[in-house]
Symmetry: C2
Subunit: 198 residues, 2 copies
């Protein structure tokens, strides 16, 4: 005895989602069929439309439905400054919380040889091409403050220097609102070594 084929296939298909195992997939399938048939049909259409229409920007690898994303297409954004981030979510966070007015480059990952992620997987040939055009004056490295994020930042910094672009790294230190005594050792040490003259 098993579930009906269509239900079994739905439960299996849901397991491609990150963080969804056998039990959650079953719960999601039941929920959709019991209480959210319209929502489920809408979800199916949304997935289809996104898979069909959403691609990566040819210039910065951000998700877009056009050749070039809205930011890259915006002539008022400063093309001489490029902020390099790991994911599209990082672009959103920077757009929502800072007044950065330059362009981006989205790596869609970070260097991680053990997972088979090298410079090619991060689209660094596209970034190289942008740097070779000579308009980029500063590359801001905004990859994560993890071991892989730092290695990736180093790699991109070398690439930028080869093309005579300036390189900066976003500041790491004590978060705003953070109490010194609760800050972890690595962050505190970074905050000291990265201190600035007032």
């Amino acid at each position: 005895m098993a579930f009906s084929p269509a239900l079994t296939s739905l439960i299996d298909a849901l397991r491609i989602l990150p963080g969804v195992g056998a039990k959650s997939a079953q719960r999601m399938a039941f929920h959709m069929l019991q209480r959210e048939r319209e929502g489920a049909a809408h979800l199916a259409r949304s997935i289809e439309q996104a898979v069909e229409n959403v691609h990566h920007c040819k210039s910065c690898r951000m998700f877009t439905e056009h050749e070039i994303c809205d930011i890259c297409a915006n002539e008022r954004r400063d093309a001489s400054v490029v902020c390099v981030v790991e994911s599209p979510a990082d672009v959103m966070a920077i757009e929502q919380n800072t007044d950065f007015g330059g362009r981006y480059f989205v790596l869609l990952g970070r260097l991680s040889p053990i997972d088979g992620v090298g410079p090619n997987e991060l689209g660094l040939d596209i970034l190289r091409q942008r740097l070779a055009e000579g308009t980029v004056e500063e590359v801001i490295l905004a990859t994560g403050a993890t071991v892989e994020g730092e290695a990736t930042a180093q790699y991109v910094a070398d690439l930028a220097r080869q093309h005579n672009a300036g390189v900066s790294r976003i500041a790491h230190g004590v978060p705003i609102g953070g109490e010194l005594e609760y800050v972890d050792a690595g962050t505190l040490s970074q905050a000291f070594s990265g201190r600035r003259a007032l």
Copy 2:
């Protein structure tokens, strides 16, 4: 600045899934578009097919693609015994782990007036009809050992008695492999009051 419309709509649509909030929906959408486009297209088709083809069995409310589910359609299953459960997952668990050879009735929920779930939402009119046919001799109550599960069991028990069917409740007590000292108070008290002569 926001994500492209198709991506925004996908992230919104994913939030119908149980346990999926804004951040997880975004992570799922990115994952599908970055690494699982084929899997995502397959998921969309699976949802569509399930929504279109999977219905509730007219007799027991189990999910099925036919009028009547495989268990209800199986003449070798004992129609005189009906096991009442809360969800399709319970049917699967009983089928996989017991030698129960009767039929089922799936409530698709439990009585919970505060959530607007009454006897009608649990399809108890369908169960009443089955009982009225007079073939059911025993109703086994296998709803959960929760307050709502017990209330539901009581309600179904009354219904069964009105139709002169025998009523039993699955045993509650110390789980197999459980050490007495780690069993919670309610279970231990239940195990004592439910003791059987050897």
